[in-house]
Symmetry: D2
C-alpha cells in the first residue's frame, strides 16, 4: 500500500461536502438559477468584507482563464511568473480562452514575482503596435513552490499594476493554504486584486472552484463566457453546494490548516534539504535518485522534481501516521 | 408545490450514481489516469459492439463542441438543423471551440434533417475560397422536438456525409431516449457516425457526459483539446464513475424508458394538440395562454413555446401521480 | 476579345492613382508613420464634415472585419442581410477576426435590411447566456444587389441600433456608387454610422480601402488589430497615396458616376428583365441559359446568377462602345 | 537632409517592379486567377529546383503566420529564437493566425538557434496534455542580427525537426541577403524546410512577399486561410507581377548583393565595435549615446539598440556617397 504525497488533487471529498451535495438532490432550477448558486455572491461578499460576485466552474484552469478574460483583450498579454501554472500546466488554455493573447514570463524567487521583476520583464516593450502590450498581472497564491505572498507584497504588486493600467488576477488554487499560513483575514490578502480563482477542489471539494470578482460588474460578461466555454453545468446546484459547504464554518480554513500542518511536520524533518520555505502544503527538497528510490521502497508516493529533487504534497486528509512515517524516513536519509 | 415538467436538466441524481461516486472517494490517480476513467473505452466498445474511445466532460455543450473539433477546421462549417441545440442554445460555444468555424442552417420537419434538406442547404456553395465549405454534419438524436431518427435515416445521412467527405456528429443529449424508443441495439443507430455526444446528465447522472469516438485515433487530439478548454477535471474519477454506473446493467436504458413512458402517457391525453410525434421524453402541444395559465394554476411547471404552445419534459424520476395528474388536466382542457 | 462585365474588381488603376503612388516612391517612415498615412484622418474629416479617424487596409474583407472588431466581442453577433458580403463571400473572415462571433441573418428586399426585418431577426433571442446576443448591425451601401439606402433609411436603422445598444457598420465597397446615385453630401449617408468600410479598389485604386471610424477613439484599438492581422504593410505610404488621390478633386465620385452611368445605360436596354432597381453599377437581369450563351457568343463576359439570371457589373473605366454594344445586344434578345 | 539607415522597409520600389506592375494594368481575372498569379508555382519551382507552390501576401507577418498555420494546430507551439520577429515584432499575429498556439523561446548566438538550443528549450516538456507540445520550428534567414545560417546548419535543424515530427519554417524576410552572402544555389539553403516566407518588400518590391510551400499539397489549405484573413487582394495581379519582376533575371539577388555590399563597407569601418558578424544588410555596433548623437548631427538616421548600441540597415538603393560618408564617420568616431 502506497502512502500518497503525490498531489492534493487526488484527495478525498470531505464528508460535509458530500452531505451538502446530497441535500440539493431534488429538482431545482437548472444551470445557475438554483438557490445555492444564487447565494454565492452574498457568501463571498461576507467572507471578503466587500461586495463581490462569484461564479462556480469545475476546474482551476477554467477559473484562471475566465478570470483573465475579464481583463485581457485578444491582442494583449498577461505578465506571470515563468513557472506559473497558467504557463506550465494548463495545456495552452490561456491562449484558447484569451483568443491568442500572450503570456509574458517574469522571474522571481520561489515562483513569486515582485514589482521589480515585473518591471524588468515589461521594460523593453515599446508602446507601439508591433509589440504585444500587457493588460494584466497574474500571481499565484500560494506560489507554485508553496510560498505565500504577504499582504504588503500583494499590495505592492497591485500598486504596480494600477500604475500601469493593468488588471490583477490571483490564481488561488491554494488560496486557503496561504490564508491559513498568514493567519489574517481573507480580505487582507486580496486588496487590489480584481479577480481571484478561489480553489476548493484540492482542499476537500469534488469539482467546484469559484471565480471571485471584486468588480461585480464583470460578472455578466463572465457568465456569457462561461456558457460559451461549455462550463455552465446544467445541475449547477451541485457545484454551488460544494462551495457553500466549504465556506460554512470556515471548513476551507480548517482543511488548509490540516494540510499545512502536515507539510510543516515533513519540512521539520527535511532540514536543510528544503529548496523553498514551506509555507503551504508543498515540500520541495533536494533528494538524490538513490534517496528517492529508498523512500519509494518504504511505500511513499511523490513526484520527482528534475534530477535531484522531489516534490511532496500534503492534502487535507493526510493520514497522521503516514506523515509521521515520512518525517521519520526523511530524518533517517 | 410545483409538479415539474420544465426540464430533465433539473432532475435528481440516481441512487446508483451516488453509490458509484462514493465508491471512488479514495485517493486515485488525478485527472483521467484513474481506474474508472481508463475503463471507459472498453465499456463503450462493448456497448456499441465496435472499438471506440470515450472521454468524459461535464456538459453537453462541451461534448458537442469538442466532438466537432475533431472534424472541422477553423475555416470550415458544420451543417446542422436551424433549431439545433448547437445553434440555438450553446451561447456561441461552437464558434469558440472551432475557432470561428460556421454553422450552416438546414431545414427539416421536427428539427430533423434529411439528405434532401442537407443537399439543399449546401447546394449553393461554390467550391472556392470565398465561401466557407462544410466539413461535418451534426444531427440531434432525439431531435430538439423529441423526434427520433430511425437507423435507416441515420444511414442515409451518413451516406450523404461520406459522399461529400464530411464527418458526422450525433448530439445525443437524449440518445438514451432515442434508443429506448427504437428498441434496437445502440450500435444500429450510430452506423456511419464518427462521434457521439452521449448524454447522461438529463437521464440520472450529475455532471458527466461522454464523447464517444468511433475512430479511436481521434482520442489523443481530443484529450489535448479537452485540457485546453479547462474540461479536464482533476478528480475525474467522479465523472467516470457516474458514466460506468449508468452503463451498468443498462441503467441508462431503464431510466430513458421511464421518462419516455411518462411522456407517452401525457401525449396520449394531449390528443390532436400534439405539434410533433412524441418519440422521446418531450411533448410539444398547442395550448393557448389561457390554457397554460389554467395548467399552471393547477400546479404544473413547464415552458411556453412561443405564443400558442407549451413544452413539457419528463425526467427519469417523473412522479407517476404527477404524470397522471397532468394527463387528466390536459384531457380536461 | 472579351467585353468584360464580370467584376469591377478586375478594372484598371486610374492614372491619377499611379501618379500619386509614384510620387511617394522615396524613403519615408515605414508602416503608417509616413506623411500620406498621417494625412488620412484630416482628409476624411473634411469629406464627412465631422471628426473621424481613418486606416488603410488592402482588402474590403479586412476593412469590414476590422471595423466590426471595434464593436463585437467574441461572444457576440452581427445582424446582417442573408446575402451580405460578410456572410457569403469573405471565406469566414468575420469568424476569424471576431474570434468566433456569429452572423445573424436578416431578410430584406434587394439585400437591404430594414428596422422591421432587423427586429424580426432578433425578436426570438432571449436575453440569457444560452443565446448569442447581437452587438452590431452591418449594412451594405450599395447593397449586394446594387440598391442604395437613402439617408432616411440609414437613419432609421441607426435609430434601431442605438435603441438596442448595437454598433452600426456600413460595408461601403461601393459607397462611392451610392453617393453618386444619391447626389447628397457623403456625411448625410453616414449619420449614425459608427464605422464605414470605404471602398476604393473597385473604383480605380489598386490595393487600398479605408476604414473610417466616426468615433476616432476606436482607432488605437484597430491599429493594434490591424498589425495583429498582418495588415500593417511596411510601405504604407503607397496605400495612403492611393486613397488621397481618389479623394483629391472628388475622383472617387467622378469614377462612380461613370460606372453608374454605364449601368444605367445597360439597365435602360434591359427593360423588365431587371430583377432589382439599378441604382449603382450592378445589373441583375432575368436571362435564360440560351440567352446567356448568345450574349457570350457576342463577346460579353459576365457571371451567371443562379439558373435564370445574370449579373453584369460596370467599372469606372467601362468602354463606351462595349456598354453600347451590350445595351444593343440586350435590347435585341 | 537625412541619410537613412533606419530600415530597408522604407526603401524605394525598383524601376523593374514598377514596369511590371504597369504591364498588368488591364482587366484580368480578379483575386489570384490572373495569369501572373498562376505563374508563381512554376517560377519558384524553377528557382528552387523542386516542385513547390507559392502564394503572394502583402506583409511578412502574414507570410510567416500563414506558413506556420500549415504546421501548427491551435493547441500546439512553435519553437523560435527569443528575439525572433514573430515573437518580438508582429504584434501577436502568431497568436491570432494560429488561434492561440504558443511560441516557445529558444536561445542562441546572434539570434540563431541550433539543434542544441532547440533541444534544451524543449527538453523539459512532458509528453502529456498539461503541457503545450511543439509542432514546428521557425528560423529566420538572415537572422534578426543579420547573421546567416549555412546550408549545413539548416540541414542540422531540419534533421532535429524531422526526428521529432516538427515542421520547419524559414522566415526569409531577408532570404535574398542570405543567399547573396552564401553564394550558393537557393535550393541548397532550404533543404528540409517545409515553408519559406520569401521576402521581397525590403529588397525592392512594393507590397508582395511570397509563401513558398515545398509540400505543394498545403497550398489549398493556405488559400482558404489567406482569404479568411482578408489577405486575398482582388487585384492580385499587381502583387504577382512584383514577385515575377524580382525573380526575372535574378533581380532579387542583384539587389541583395547591393545592400550586402553597403553593409560590408560600413562594417569594415566599424572595426571591433561590431556586436555580430555582418553577413547580410544589418550592422549592429557598440556606440555610446554621445557617439550616436554625433552621428545624427552629421545627418545619419538609424535606430538605437538598447543603451549602448545602434542598428544600421542598408537597402538595395543605398546611395554610395551616403554609405561612404557613414563609413568615414564611423572610422572617425
Amino acid at each position: 500500500m502506497v502512502m500518497q504525497f503525490l498531489s492534493d488533487n487526488a484527495a478525498a471529498v470531505h464528508p460535509q461536502v458530500w452531505k451538502a451535495m446530497q441535500a440539493v438532490d431534488r429538482a431545482d432550477a437548472p444551470y445557475d438559477n438554483d438557490a445555492p448558486s444564487r447565494a454565492l455572491d452574498a457568501a463571498f461578499s461576507t467572507l471578503f468584507g466587500r461586495e463581490c460576485a462569484a461564479l462556480w466552474v469545475a476546474s482551476g484552469t477554467a477559473a484562471n482563464c475566465l478570470a483573465l478574460a475579464s481583463m485581457v483583450p485578444p491582442h494583449g498579454a498577461v505578465l506571470c511568473h515563468r513557472e506559473a501554472h497558467i504557463e506550465m500546466d494548463e495545456g495552452g488554455a490561456p491562449g484558447f480562452f484569451l483568443h491568442g493573447a500572450k503570456l509574458m514570463l517574469v522571474e522571481g524567487e520561489s515562483a513569486k514575482v515582485t514589482p521589480a521583476t515585473l518591471a524588468r520583464a515589461s521594460a523593453g516593450i515599446r508602446d507601439d503596435v508591433h509589440q504585444v502590450q500587457p493588460h494584466a498581472v497574474s500571481i499565484t497564491q500560494a506560489s507554485e513552490y508553496g510560498c505565500v505572498y504577504r499582504p504588503d507584497e500583494v499590495a505592492a504588486i497591485a500598486a504596480f499594476a494600477k500604475a500601469r493600467g493593468l488588471g490583477l488576477h490571483m490564481d488561488g488554487a491554494r488560496f486557503a493554504n496561504a490564508v491559513a499560513f498568514l493567519g489574517c483575514a481573507p480580505g487582507e490578502v486580496v486588496a487590489g486584486v480584481d479577480a481571484l480563482s478561489f480553489g476548493f477542489i484540492k482542499n476537500g471539494a469534488m469539482s467546484a472552484e469559484a471565480i471571485v470578482l471584486f468588480d461585480p460588474e464583470q460578472a455578466a460578461l463572465l457568465r456569457y463566457r462561461r456558457k460559451r466555454a461549455g462550463h455552465l453545468q446544467s445541475k449547477g446546484r451541485f457545484l454551488a453546494a460544494q462551495i457553500l459547504a466549504m465556506l460554512e464554518g470556515d471548513l476551507w480554513l480548517a482543511n488548509a490548516r490540516a494540510s499545512n500542518a502536515a507539510a510543516a511536520e515533513i519540512a521539520g524533518a527535511a532540514g536543510d534539504r528544503l529548496l523553498h520555505p514551506v509555507e503551504a502544503n508543498e515540500v520541495f527538497l533536494a533528494c538524490t535518485p538513490a534517496e528517492r528510490a529508498a523512500l519509494r521502497a518504504q511505500g511513499f508516493g511523490f513526484y520527482d522534481w528534475g534530477e535531484d529533487a522531489a516534490r511532496l504534497v500534503t492534502a487535507w486528509d493526510a493520514a497522521p501516521d503516514h506523515v509521521a512515517a515520512l518525517a521519520r524516513a526523511l530524518a533517517a536519509l
